[in-house]
Symmetry: C2
Subunit: 295 residues, 2 copies
């Protein structure tokens, strides 16, 4: 049965009750807005993102993996800010010919990803399209006033760290990655982090953004960049979709950070790959650019 | 110049600074998440929606009108809940061939619509597509714990009211409507409102939803339904995209409500079109259905 035969009401009827009503949700999916408690004394974080067929996934990508990726991408932005995601809204833009089974599996993936970080899906909206298949997810959550990190706070002399390994994500990882939320929350609880972001367009595109937002330059030690097995240095810099953290900390934190990280996250490499420097107009040209949309 | 030539960074660079930083926004568009103050002691409202080319607008629809509609649709859901919208995130899914001028005008419309209700656009995300053109907007805001209204609270014997006139919206109104936020806020400040929603799929599809959510039936007085000039009764029930309020109030409120409404909103008709009744399985079949996606 496809969606045209099923109708939107029945589709949402089938999908939404399964979403439950956890996390103190006051009015869940199915009404005009979701009603949820607002975080007390904390800052609100808002993020929206989308995945589009033939851009972020392919026609033959398993729908469960599509759902996983669609949800985890904005959650990775919460990691970048050291935030705690709480509630997600799902907008499906799907051709009427899509089967009910496909959408069910997509929601399976969405739900599984959300529950990995205790996120509740509080709303669903669908729109029929002629051909386009896209999923837009928006997420709200919170961060303590003393713990949020942006791209802007980097200072000259800061160490630059990267989690995990870079490059070659499109072979597999881009459909199954786990955003570095646990790592990011641990970092801001225990260390001074001046600036942070998640690597989505590749180190070559993203590092210059962090440096520019902080008003500083940077120096990379290319040979240090941790590479996924099989990825060359160029791939590690330009491939994109790593969803690893890039962050800047005062140099004095380095020994304690590396030691405690190894104890806390033994399976996740943490590598110092360079430092922030005085502003320089030439840095940008020297780096091979990562993946930038429209180019 | 089209977007492929311009690149995503430069596009966002052009669009985002113009969005300003009002409403106490702590970190505006351009970082990984938007950071905003969370509403104190109030409930958080979350809503996402989208407009898609060839479904909600046409290739030749002026981009400013597309932006207006894209923003106003989720704001209409805030009206339905008697909520106050505050922050919006914009996700553009656009073909690389789209011109910069088109996107600028789209943002003009988005901004104009947002500022009509003091909403700040705090984030923008773009994804290139092959052909699809869609805009997804998510909005957060708040409502006082004592004032939120869902579709669920309707009671047997309640009067059913509708604002404005129904039908024929696709001729013009669907691109230029103003969500009934002022009216809705005034209603919950001054009257008991048991259930409310905005009419987006047509009275014939939406009223049965309100009744079902409230666990009651309904009786419509067809001849009372206020119609747009030129719209017949069937159009008034089935056309969709009215973005008017449908709400249920205790019968005792009627005289005072009608008198005070006329004084406060002299240009907006308010019409009692029927009532909620004991639950009946036949109501749904009797009504010609409004517009339902996928059908």
């Amino acid at each position: 049965m496809n969606l045209r035969q099923l109708g939107e009401d029945r589709l949402l009827h089938e999908l939404l009750p399964s979403l439950g009503r956890s996390g103190g949700v006051i009015l869940p999916a199915g009404d005009d807005c979701a009603v949820v408690p607002s975080p007390r004394g904390k800052l609100l974080l808002l993020k929206t993102d989308c995945v589009v067929e033939n851009v972020h996934f392919r026609k033959d990508t398993p729908p469960k993996a599509v759902g996983w990726k669609a949800m985890m991408r904005p959650l990775s932005d919460f990691a970048a800010m050291s935030g705690v995601p709480q509630f997600a809204l799902v907008t499906l833009m799907i051709p009427g010919r899509t089967t009910r089974e496909w959408v069910r599996k997509l929601y399976d993936g969405l739900r599984r990803a959300a529950s990995r970080f205790d996120v509740t899906i509080v709303g669903g909206e669908t729109s029929s399209t002629k051909d386009l298949l896209a999923i837009s997810i928006s997420v709200s959550g919170f961060v303590e006033r003393t713990r949020w990190v942006s791209r802007r706070g980097g200072r000259r002399g800061d160490d630059l760290f990267v989690t995990g390994r870079l490059g070659g994500s499109l072979r597999r990882k881009h459909l199954s990655f786990v955003p570095r939320i646990d790592e990011s929350r641990w970092l801001t609880k225990n260390f001074v982090v001046h600036a942070m972001m998640d690597l989505s367009d590749g180190l070559g595109a993203d590092l210059p953004r962090l440096a520019a937002a902080s008003g500083v330059g940077f120096e990379l030690e290319y040979e240090k960049i941790p590479r996924t097995a099989g990825a060359g240095i160029k791939q590690a810099i330009t491939d994109g979709e790593d969803y690893e953290l890039l962050f800047a900390t005062p140099k004095r934190e380095r020994p304690r950070l590396l030691a405690r990280w190894r104890a806390r996250f033994p399976k996740v490499p943490l590598t110092q790959i360079g430092r922030l420097t005085v502003k320089s107009a030439t840095n940008r040209q020297k780096l091979p650019g990562g993946y930038v949309h429209f180019k």
